[in-house]
Structures are given as C-alpha cells and as structure tokens.
C-alpha cells in the first residue's frame, strides 16, 4: 500500500509531514482539475518541486549546473510550487518510492538541477503554514470589511416594479447633495414619494447650511452625496469627500450613502475612513441620450429608495421590505446561485453580503460568525422581516469561546455542517429565538481551515429547514473565492517587485513543461 488518496481527505501540508517523517526517497505527484505538480524527496528532504505555474521556469534549469544564481531561482520556484500545491482543495496525490535518485523526471534530465543538499522540510513546513495563516488573515479582513462599503445593487426594471419600498412613518430625513440638477430632481422625487422628508443641496456650502438647520429637528438623518463634485478650491473632482469631512466636523450623527460614477481603491479607503457604509454607482453609459439617461436615473433612484428602506437607522423592527421570504423555486434559485457564483469571481467587496443573500433564499435568518483565536464572533446577519441594521447590531454583540463538544466547535474541528437538534443549547442568546426548532451551522472553509460559521434557522415560522445543498455549495465557492483573492493580492505584490534583470539569461529560454509528465 503506497501513500495515496484525495486531497479532500488529507491536505498537502499533512502529506509533506508524513513523507518528511518517513525520510524516504521518492516522488510525490499531485493532480487536480487545474493544477498539477510534483515534489521530489531524498531521505525526506525536498530536492525539487514544480507546479503548473512554475513548470516552465523549472524546465529551464534542467540539465544545467546550478550556479548560485540558478540555485536561488530554483529554490524560489520550489517554494512557489509548494505554495500553489498546498492551496489545492481537490485532487489526488500519490507518493512513490524510488530506490535511487532519478536521473529522469518526466522527460526532464534531473541529474543536475536538483538541490544537492535539499531543503530542510521543517523550515519549508513552517514557512508554508505561516503563509497560509497570512492568507487567512487577508481573507478575514476581506470578510470583515466587505460589508463596510457595500455597493447598492441596481436591479432589473422588472424587479423594480415589485419593490416599492415605503419609508412613510420612518421619520427619515434625507439630504441629497449633488451638483447635477437632474440627479437631485429625480432622486429627491423618488424619496419624497417613498415618504421621506427630503432636502437638497448642490454643493458644500449649501449642504452645510441645510444640515445646520436639520441637526435640531430631524430625528433620523441620512446624507446622500455625490463624490464627484468640484472641491471648494476648484482643483479637484472629489468634493463629496470634502463635504462629508466638513459635515462630520459639525458633529451630530448621520449616515452617509455615497453616489459615484466610479471609485478607485484609494477613494474606497477614504470613504471607509469617513465612515461611509454604502456606495451607489450612478448610470453613465446613457448620459448622452436624455431620455434613456432619465430612465436610468429613475431606476437608480428606486434602487436608492430600496437601499434606504433596508438601512434606515431607526427602521429598527420594521419589516425589511427588501428581503423576501425564502424562495425554494428550483429554477429561480439555480439562476440566482449561478449569478451569485459568477459574482464571486471578483470578490473585492460584498462577499459577506453575498453569502447572506444566498442564505436568505433558503432560510429566514442567517448569521455569519468569524472564527478567530479560538472564538466565534458575530459579523453580520440577515433576517426576514427585520432591518439589516438591527440584525447586524444583534450579531456583532455575540462573541464566545469555542468549547469542546459544542456544535460550533464541532463545525470548526470537523469542517463539516452540523444540524442542531431542538433543545440543544447554543451560546447565541443574543439572537431572538423566535419559533426556531431546527438550526444548522455551515463552515466557510479557507485553505482547509474554518474561517467562519454560518448559522441558519427559521425563527418566524418555525418551519423545518429545507435541503441546503445549494447554500453549502455556494459557501465552498465563497471560500475558494477568498483564497483566490488572497493569492491574487500576493501575485500582484510579487509582480510589482519582479525584474527581468533578476533572472538573467534564463528568461530567454522559458518554454512550457507540457510533456513533462
């Protein structure tokens, strides 16, 4: 019996430990859907490794004697290969013994290009583990910040008609600030129709004047502001930020929803610093056609209206008109899952929100708990019939230690979903139990570790939980999207420090290693 199996059962970091411990000489082959690779060991030490993305560079070194420069390059390629292989979630592995060091490796002449002494496996294992932890921290940050600057989602016109969110009686006053009169006119009309008290301003000075009069009388104030206005010195076009800074300087509490045509990552960061939680992208493509632009702006205004109905700070226990009851129509849910999975391909923002939206299709309440330092901490939630802000507040107040023999710990250590039977206690007293009977916990996996746990139940109706396979699959995809996002950030960092000159003449000979295996 050789050491072989599925990466789903044993990850590469664990396999490397076993082989290193055995102190054997042989080849570990790893094959996945998109990534393949091999690692060559002598007496448990790592002599060489390649993976799909490093094969070309490793091939260049085949048959050459290793001068210090080439050796450094090979070491770096081995490390990159291992990082790539360790991050694989699925695939097969097999370690095969070799009686002596191979002189051929695939179609490569392996006689010269192996590291003579090999790399210390302990050093490599620690390095890989630290890198995985760094990636996990990256992903945690992405999850934690994802809902800080969420994008207001434009919906189809058909979807618009069914979402006439009412804000009547919410006591909400909205100050709309934009230097584009048509935007101010259409947005303020829509919000007025929704039942808000609406004030308008076309620039910083006017906004400050209006706000000073509102500060005393508005029970609940929301500022809807365009970021792309001229600054007061006339030298910049991000005057919206300047206005927010000045308004913040006046004191008082109000929420801000930023409107923009586009927003750089620096601008997003600045928005977060200023306490902005939402951004809505204005239509731009139809600007040259007044009729179409007007229609797009009305659609945009309806999206803002829905958004305000979700996040209105005093909406407290008002039913959340934007969230709908779980919908288990198979075709509809398949289409929805497909759309959401596509959106995961660039998860620079909103991944927490995406998870909660998908969960809302299946259950009445979903709360995401981050797993960090042996604790689970509420991050965000969504609940049928309740405003997002209220659920968020409730979720964020929950934090507990993961105890042995506890359903949350069970999910973390088994990395598998757990259905929690009625009567079994959970340390989430902060969540209103309602009529929930059955509850389920799902892991969000990141590099084989549980990054977060999703709690699901039906507190409004007490209905049994449906089949949740689609949700589970989406969580797998979300975990992979987070891993990819982390890997992409790393690649970008590597690219920015990369120089062709560092690699000398080797870069002239790069050819793919298609036939190596």
């Amino acid at each position: 019996m050789a050491l072989n199996g599925r990466l789903e059962d044993m990850n590469l970091l664990e396999i490397l430990q076993i082989v290193a411990f055995s102190k054997k000489t042989g080849t570990l082959d790893v094959r996945g859907a998109r990534v393949n690779g091999s690692v060559l060991f002598r007496s448990g030490r790592l002599l060489c490794a390649f993976s799909t993305s490093t094969a070309a560079a490793v091939r260049v070194l085949a048959g050459k004697s290793l001068d210090p420069g080439a050796r450094a390059l090979l070491e770096s390629q081995i490390r990159t290969s291992l990082q790539e292989l360790v991050s694989m979630r699925e695939g097969r592995f097999e370690f095969r013994l070799c009686p002596a060091l191979p002189v051929q490796w695939g179609d490569l002449d392996a006689s010269n290009f192996l590291l003579e002494e090999g790399l210390d496996p302990q050093e490599i294992l620690l390095e890989l583990a630290r890198e995985l932890d760094e990636a996990r921290r990256d992903s945690t940050r992405l999850l934690e910040t994802a809902d800080v600057l969420d994008e207001v989602e434009p919906r189809s016109h058909a979807g618009d008609s069914s979402a006439e969110a009412s804000l009547a009686g919410s006591g909400l006053t909205v100050l709309v600030v934009d230097d584009e009169p048509l935007v101010v006119q259409i947005v303020s009309q829509e919000l007025d129709d929704a039942g808000c008290d609406v004030e308008t301003a076309s620039g910083a000075e006017e906004a400050i004047q209006v706000l000073s009069t509102l500060a005393n009388r508005a029970s609940s104030l929301f500022v809807l502001i365009d970021v792309g206005m001229p600054t007061s010195d006339g030298e910049g076009f991000d005057g919206g930020f300047e206005v927010i800074e000045r308004l913040r300087g006046m004191g008082g509490t109000f929420s801000v929803l930023l409107m923009a045509e586009s927003l750089s990552s620096e601008a997003r960061a600045r928005a977060r610093t200023l306490g902005v939680k939402r951004i809505a992208f204005k239509p731009t493509l139809t600007k040259l056609d007044p009729d179409e632009y007007g229609a797009d702006l009305r659609s945009f205004a309806r999206a803002l209206r829905r958004e305000l109905s979700e996040i209105a700070p005093d909406a407290g226990e008002r039913p959340d008109s934007a969230s709908s009851a779980p919908n288990l129509n198979h075709d509809a849910i398949f289409e929805f899952l497909k759309t959401m999975t596509d959106r995961l391909s660039s998860p620079t923002s909103g991944i927490t929100r995406m998870i909660l939206r998908v969960a809302s299709k299946y259950v009445e309440r979903a709360v995401l708990f981050l797993v960090k330092d042996g604790r689970a901490c509420g991050l965000a939630g969504a609940q049928l019939g309740r405003a997002e802000a209220a659920v968020l507040k409730e979720a964020r107040a929950i934090s507990f230690e993961l105890q042995e023999a506890h359903p949350f710990a069970e999910v973390v250590y088994s990395r598998s979903p757990v259905r929690v039977a009625e009567g079994r206690e959970l340390p989430i007293a902060g969540l209103e139990p309602g009529r929930s009977r059955e509850r389920a916990l799902f892991p969000l996996l990141h590099n084989h570790e549980v990054l977060a746990v999703l709690y699901c139940d039906n507190p409004a109706t007490g209905a049994p939980l449906p089949k949740l396979a689609g949700l589970q699959l989406f969580l797998v995809q979300a975990g992979m999207a987070l891993e990819n996002a982390s890997l992409h950030r790393k690649l970008r960092a590597m690219e920015s420090g990369y120089s062709l000159e560092d690699q000398g003449p080797l870069t002239q000979e790069l050819t793919p290693l298609r036939d190596a295996r």
Binding site: E14, F95, L97, Q122
Partner: protein
C-alpha cells in the same frame, strides 16, 4: 548536555497552536510532538519554567488538543538541530483523559500513514 527523553518524538510537523501564558494569548506552531511534550516554534519564546496552556487543532478532523504544559527548555533560534528554530520545548502535565485520547489518536494516525510508505518499500524489495 544530552537530552533525556522517555517518548519517541514525531516530526518534522507543523500544527498551528494558540497558547496562553497567564493573561497573554499568542499563536505559534508545534513542530514535533511526543506523549511527553512538544516543541512550540514561536518568536520571542516564553521564559524557562513558564506555565503554558496550548490549544491545537489536530489534523484529520481529530479535534482540538488542549494541554497544560511547562517550558522545559528554550531556543532563541539560529543554532543546530532543535536549536535552529526559535521556540520552547514544552513538557505536558495534567493531561486530561480527552487530551490523552486525542494525542494517542494523532500519534497513531501519523505513524500509520508513515508506515504505509514503509510497507510499500517492503513490497517493492
């Protein structure tokens, strides 16, 4: 000085481990384990004799190992062999029956997997 060991040591390995010394909570990596103790790789290692409580999530979904330990020796790193890494040699004490069970299960599983390679070698010969 020659090390005195009563238990076979398993390594190299790497297990992410949360640990606390008094009120301080930190993270390190176990790089070898035996029935009697473990090496915890960590920068700025705790002092000799310090009581350290560890929590390590064991591979293969075995569960979380929680153990009370004491720093038996200390390495600043940069040396040879075990002194190459910065960290502390921990001696287990007051292991609960559950911790014993988990540790046994882990060591057994690890050696079984390594033995698969040995068995294969015997067949090849």
């Amino acid at each position: 000085m020659k090390e005195k060991r009563n238990h076979a040591r398993l390594g190299p390995l790497v297990i992410k481990t949360a640990f606390s010394c008094g009120a301080e909570r930190r993270q390190g990596y176990l790089t070898n384990v035996s029935q009697g103790g473990a090496f915890l790789a960590v920068d700025d290692p705790p002092a000799l004799g310090t009581d350290v409580e560890i929590r390590a999530s064991l591979p293969w979904r075995l569960g979380e190992l929680r153990a009370r330990t004491r720093v038996a020796w200390r390495s600043e790193g940069g040396g040879e062999g075990q002194k190459k890494l910065s960290g502390v040699g921990l001696a287990f004490h007051e292991l609960s029956p559950e911790a014993h069970r988990l540790l046994d299960a882990y060591l057994k599983r690890f050696t079984e997997l390594a033995a698969r390679i040995e068995e294969h070698e015997q067949i090849e010969k």
